[in-house]
Subunit: 162 residues, 3 copies
């Protein structure tokens, strides 16, 4: 099989951009490609566990990090739309329209990507800045910095920034 590699930097945490990234990743994985989604800045949100996570020791969060953590959504369910968000109404509308069209939900796209062995990577520098600990992120992901991303990108034939 002629497998090629794809990388996506997921910088955005907007519902619609995350959806686009996951649709591309699932499509490529279905065609036998090796896909890496490098989650950085707001893109890290999709890797956050929902609910309270007990701190596993380690350094305490700063006030700023607690603020970022408190304001940024956890997981895919609370993401807002990049356009026409209309006081939070946009994403639910898009969800409903997607369901009516028989499309996969954001959560189904995410689970499907994991099942198809899409590599989700948490950007360690963004984690340090925003104060996200490994135990606050979901299982089955990798932790890498920009050098590792560039290594993947050098081997890939399609590299997108979303």
């Amino acid at each position: 099989m002629d497998t090629t590699k794809k990388t996506i930097i997921l910088f955005s945490g907007d519902f619609d951009r995350v959806m686009a990234a996951l649709i591309i990743a699932n499509g490529a994985a279905a065609m036998g490609d090796d896909v890496t989604i490098f989650c950085t800045f707001w893109g890290l949100n999709i890797l956050r566990k929902t609910g309270k996570v007990p701190q596993n020791g380690g350094s305490k969060k700063t006030t700023l990090q607690k603020m970022f953590g408190g304001m940024m959504p956890k997981g895919t369910k609370k993401l807002g739309l990049s356009k026409m968000n209309m006081v939070g109404m946009g994403a639910p509308m898009m969800r409903k329209a997607t369901k009516a069209a028989g499309g996969m939900s954001l959560e189904e796209l995410f689970d499907s990507a994991l099942e198809q062995d899409v590599h989700f990577v948490a950007c360690t520098l963004s984690m340090d800045i925003l104060g996200f600990k490994k135990e606050e992120l979901i299982d089955g992901i990798e932790f890498e910095g920009v050098a590792a991303y560039l290594g993947h990108a050098d081997e890939a034939n399609v590299n997108l920034f979303i």
Copy 2:
């Protein structure tokens, strides 16, 4: 001639991002490249016919789809700026400044791209979700899904997400 291929995913419907996409596409086409612009989500707006389009039979639009259709701009003329939109004043300012600088208008860039055989592709999944029918989009475009996009991208040496 040594023609290479370029693809652009046009996710955004912002005036300035669409302008950037069309400038790159025109430049590449002028250099003999085969260019595909895959319009998805808000990028579909530039492919919409202006004015009312009689429905060609087929399934009726849902209320949600009518709402999306009513709120999203038709064609390039109503697009807003991504930054400094200032109650809709941003795009007209950018248009005026572009004209004064002797640059091509968004409509001229779009027509030029069509004349240079840039392929405009409407993402069929986005169409299904937002409820856009083929007869509501302009003539001379193609209709494809993510697998077809990936096929183009695999053959291209520059792939951008805008």
Copy 3:
């Protein structure tokens, strides 16, 4: 040394997106890559000199160009965050969190990129539209149009639009 080429179109002038672009550029340059950052539209802001710049003769700015010039930030210090900007509080918060995490500031990233010979290119068409003169932009940069960008991209193996 096996040097490869990377290009980034920096369209955005958002603090966080500029930061992402500079982190990638510095990482690639540190690995021996030849990196070009093509600054267009709002991305031009990072190349603007701070303070008043005496006009070097040439054509006078139009009122519109003066308005764009007056509203758009000069240099990296005044950029706002793309998300959670909260009346301008977002970028200072991100700066503080970055410093606390031992990360490089936006200005350090920019200086480091220049020292590592990352090529900063000002898009001449954007300059014409927004009315930015060469003397208003910092020294040590290049001035090119879309054709030159495409030339770089054709030689590169990673091309991002940020």
